[in-house]
Every structure is written in structure tokens, then in C-alpha cells.
Amino acid sequence: MRYTSGVGRTIGQSPSGDDPNVQIAVKLKALYQSVQEEAIPARFLDLLEKLEAAERQSIPHGKE
């Protein structure tokens, strides 16, 4: 099965004619992308910094 609709297709003008799977796919992606497009919260950047710093300290100098 292949669900595609050309860019020129008028979505929503005749709801009964629209494939509901396309609507589901679009909404799922919209929901997902709304989070994906957010900036990475500072807590994660800080966490990675800390993990990296902790690792640097724990590695014996000879190994570097």
C-alpha cells in the first residue's frame, strides 16, 4: 500500500474522500516534529558536560 497525495491535492475539501491514514500520518508527524524542533534543554547539555568531566577525571593520566 502506498499513501501519497500530491502537493496539489486539496486536503480537507471533501473529508469523506480523504484517506484517514494520511490524516493520521500527518498528525503524528506534526506532534512529533513539534517536540523535535525544540531546542535541546540546558539540563541535557549540562548533564553531558558533567559526564564528560567525570570521565576525564577517572581516566588515569597514562591512558590519555
Binding site: I11, G12, Q13, P15, N21, A25, L28, Y32, S34, E64
Partner: protein, 184 residues
């Protein structure tokens, strides 16, 4: 060898936006989703020796995240009830997290799916994984993933149709991405 370490961190950072989106799609609440992402980062960091640079970092992190989620759900036994849609009640307190009413309805519908179907349709329909990759991430057979995705679609259709068929209106967000809809 600091470079390999930095490379690991860089790849992890690159995968974080989609990892958060995955967590958020599965759980539905920013605070809990980000706690889960944090747990995942720490687990992944501790296991970085197991990761082969050059292989799929995103799939690796997604696998850790979903395993972590399910192990946490098992530990807090009662929260497994989330799978029956009880999460919807808590979601009602956070409606501002989703732009349009339309997406809020969709979010609630998504939360009514059993967890295995929800993760399957998210992985294939939003995260951009193939059915094969999704099967590996979930640790199940290819056919299982396919049937979960199909059942998820059917169930979402049922839920959303009950809400009102005329809700499928045109909107600016849908038009540009419709052309990249499911290919199965």
C-alpha cells in the same frame, strides 16, 4: 583518546531532539519524558563501550529508552494502567503543550493505544525507521511490527472518527508534510 569520546558525545547530541520527541510521543508529558531521556543518557553513557562508532546511534538510544521505559513501568506496577488510557486524565492538565485543538485530540487518541502499538506507529510513522529497524528496536519479529502498525492505524481511525469526521479540515501544518505520508 579523547576524540572517540567527543565523537560519541557529538553523535548523542545530534540524536537528542528525536530521542526527546520519541519519549514525548510515548509518554505525553514533558516532565516525565525528559526524566526518561535523562535516564537514557546516563545509561547510554555508562554503556558507551558497547556502542560501535559508525553504527546507528539513534536506533541504539531509542532501544535503551524504550527498554528503560518498560522496566520503569514494571517497577511502578500501577502505572502500567497508563496503557488503558488513564494517562489521558493527567494529560488534561497539560493541554497547552500542543498547539492546536486538533493535535490535542490526536494526542489523546494516541494515548488510548496499547503501548506496543503506540511505539510501533511512532517508530515507523514519525521517527523515520524502517519496519526492520523498528522490529530490532522493539526486539520483536518484522511481522509483529507490521501488524502492530496496522492495528494502531485502525484503532486511531476508529477513535478519531468517533470524535467527528468533519474535524479533518485543511490546516497549514498538514499540507506540506502530507506528500511524505506513510509508505508501507
Amino acid at each position: 583518546m579523547p576524540s572517540e569520546n567527543q565523537e560519541f558525545k557529538r553523535e548523542m547530541l545530534a540524536a537528542l531532539p528525536s530521542l526527546r520527541a520519541f519519549a514525548m510521543s510515548l509518554i505525553g508529558r514533558h516532565d516525565r519524558a525528559d526524566d526518561l531521556v535523562q535516564d537514557t543518557i546516563m545509561k547510554a553513557w555508562a554503556k558507551q563501550d558497547h556502542f560501535e562508532m559508525g553504527t546507528n546511534m539513534k536506533a541504539w538510544l531509542f532501544t535503551i529508552l524504550r527498554n528503560e521505559l518498560y522496566s520503569q513501568m514494571r517497577k511502578r506496577g500501577r502505572e502500567v494502567q497508563d496503557s488503558d488510557g488513564h494517562l489521558t486524565e493527567t494529560l488534561a492538565h497539560h493541554p497547552e503543550q500542543y498547539g492546536s485543538l486538533d493535535l490535542q485530540d490526536f494526542r489523546r487518541a494516541l494515548d488510548q493505544l496499547p503501548p506496543d502499538q503506540r511505539e510501533a506507529i511512532i517508530l515507523v510513522g514519525a521517527s523515520g525507521f524502517s519496519y526492520e529497524e523498528a522490529a530490532t528496536i522493539c526486539g520483536c519479529a518484522l511481522g509483529t511490527i507490521k501488524s502492530r502498525v496496522n492495528r494502531a492505524r485502525q484503532r486511531l481511525q476508529e477513535i478519531l472518527q468517533v470524535k467527528g469526521e468533519n474535524d479533518y479540515g485543511p490546516d497549514e501544518t498538514s499540507a506540506p508534510i502530507t506528500s511524505r505520508a506513510f509508505v508501507s
